[in-house]
């Protein structure tokens, strides 16, 4: 991909401030950290989940349990794609019943990943609430789903690509918008 086609939406400092704000919002909304559990959707939702848990520990001194979830078995397009998605391991080593469960992902887009995650969560137990935290909300929902905590709202076109990068995973903290290649207007 051409360098010129990248737009930096957030750098590491902006991301860090957004995560701190989200952590505070979660604590405020849930009256502290005691009832919380955090579940991150693999791969980058899981990274963000761990970071949020770390920030919450710094604020409240409470270690919030963090789980990881692979949603591929619950996808709604599993019969549409000839390649089966690679199934990774879900690790939720704690009870989610009656907890306030914070579901975490990096980008909220069509909402289909979150739908799959919700179906999977219901099979694991019955949390008191499920709340959604994302680093980026880029719109274009295809399902009635919204986020409770958002790092940044980004207006995008349907064909654009938004990627969130984390130091732990990618060696840099950055949110990048890759605009869809411009179609030649004369051809149209």
């Amino acid at each position: 991909m051409n360098k010129a086609e990248q737009i930096e939406i957030m750098d590491g400092r902006k991301m860090s401030r957004a995560m701190t704000r989200i952590a505070h919002e979660i604590l405020e909304h849930n009256g502290g950290a005691d009832s919380l559990v955090i579940v991150g959707i693999l791969t980058r939702g899981a990274v963000l989940a761990r970071k949020l848990a770390e920030i919450i520990k710094g604020i409240e001194g409470v270690e919030v349990p963090v789980g990881l979830m692979d949603i591929n078995l619950y996808r709604d397009d599993i019969n549409f794609n000839p390649d089966q998605p690679v199934v990774r391991t879900t690790e939720i080593m704690f009870d989610i019943d009656e907890k306030n469960l914070i579901l975490v992902d990096d980008v909220l887009y069509t909402g289909r990943t979150i739908r799959a995650a919700l179906s999977q969560m219901i099979d694991f137990g019955r949390p008191a609430t499920i709340q959604l935290a994302v680093m980026v909300d880029r719109g274009h929902r295809q399902l009635p789903i919204r986020a409770d905590y958002v790092g940044k709202n980004i207006p995008t076109s349907f064909e654009d690509n938004v990627r969130v990068y984390f130091e732990e995973q990618d060696g840099k903290d950055e949110v990048i918008l890759y605009p869809a290649p411009k179609k030649n207007s004369k051809e149209k």
């Binding site: 692979d70 591929n72 078995l73 619950y74 996808r75 599993i78 019969n79 794609n81 000839p82 390649d83 089966q84 998605p85 690679v86 199934v87 990774r88 391991t89 879900t90 690790e91 179906s119 099979d123 694991f124 137990g125």
Partner: protein, 313 residues
């Protein structure tokens, strides 16, 4: 990711990357079995036929549960209560059942080659659940999965298969899979129960159990198939037990951190003593649990390969 074949007939010739994909996927399905609700939706709407022409407890229940836990609909067929009794041929039987719209077939049959034959006359994905003396690929995979669970990798392991190698489809699937993944494999049994030209399988061949046990990490003890022992291939059970039965005393020559495996059903007191079967090194029940995860992985991955042009292995 997908497998290079839409059927699983045997482990012979299956590329390393396919074996690794199945084993890695099985790790994720193994976790599903520890969940409160042990059911996931990826095979919703698929129908799987379990076609069992031979008796089976473990494999049949294991496949049936694996299918149900993937949300597939499964139907079971047993030859003894069907129109096979009226003389209907295998081909007619399966084509009639397939006309009722099924997607996958799990087949066990006493004749080697039946699963392959089904790939030629059916559209469904075919999984071999044991065909005569040929192969039992999901058993081979679950044995390898269980070894990998303990030792993290297969490359460099020394694995010994003891017993009736000649009639054992489990042995053959183990040998092919283990060799592809880089293990060193030895077999040991009475000469009459070893395959002709066994060395050509690429394994070390022993007829003395104590020599064979030297430096081994995993001992996979095969069942003496009493129901197939009509030809008098060894003089008596008692003699077999004395010469090849695995007792605590014999384990001394193994490597530290060794593992005892058995595909079941066990003839306690014949090929394995109670003491060894119930020892802490025995992973026989883990093998059974892992079998389900491996079968879920195979069903899941094969259901994705629906390209009818893919060659069969």
């Amino acid at each position: 990711m997908k497998l290079s074949s839409r059927h699983l007939i045997g482990l012979e010739g299956v590329p390393k990357k396919d074996l690794e994909l199945i084993l890695d996927t099985a790790v994720s399905f193994r976790e599903v079995l520890d969940r409160p609700i042990k059911k996931v939706p990826p095979l919703r709407g698929k129908t799987v036929l379990n076609l069992f022409y031979e008796p089976s407890t473990r494999t049949r229940i294991s496949f049936d549960l694996a299918e149900k836990r993937l949300s597939a609909d499964s139907i079971s067929f047993s030859a003894s209560t069907s129109s096979v009794k009226k003389g209907e041929s295998l081909k007619d039987t399966v084509r009639n059942i397939e006309a009722m719209k099924i997607d996958m077939v799990v087949v066990r049959h006493k004749s080697p080659g039946v699963p392959y034959y089904l790939t030629q006359c059916m559209e469904s994905n075919i999984i071999n659940a044991g065909d005569g003396q040929h192969e039992h690929p999901t058993q081979g995979l679950l044995d390898i999965f269980t070894m990998r669970q303990k030792y993290k990798k297969i490359k460099g392991l020394r694995v010994l298969l003891v017993g009736d190698i000649k009639h054992s489809r489990v042995a053959r699937s183990n040998i092919w899979g283990l060799k592809t993944l880089g293990a060193s494999v030895a077999i040991c049994g009475p000469t009459t129960l070893l395959p002709y030209e066994a060395e050509r399988l690429g394994v070390d061949v022993y007829t003395n159990i104590d020599e064979a046990m030297e430096g081994v990490d995993v001992v996979n003890i095969l069942r003496i198939q009493l129901e197939r022992q009509t030809a008098g291939l060894f003089p008596s059970q008692r003699e077999y037990t004395n010469l090849f039965g695995i007792s605590r005393e014999r384990l001394k020559r193994l490597n530290k951190n060794f593992t005892i495996m058995h595909p079941g059903p066990m003839n306690r007191g014949v090929e394995i003593t109670n003491e060894v079967a119930d020892s802490p090194e025995s992973v026989i029940l883990s093998q059974v649990t892992n079998g389900q995860a491996v079968r879920m992985a195979v069903l899941y991955l094969l259901s994705g390969v629906d390209d009818k042009e893919t060659p069969t292995a």
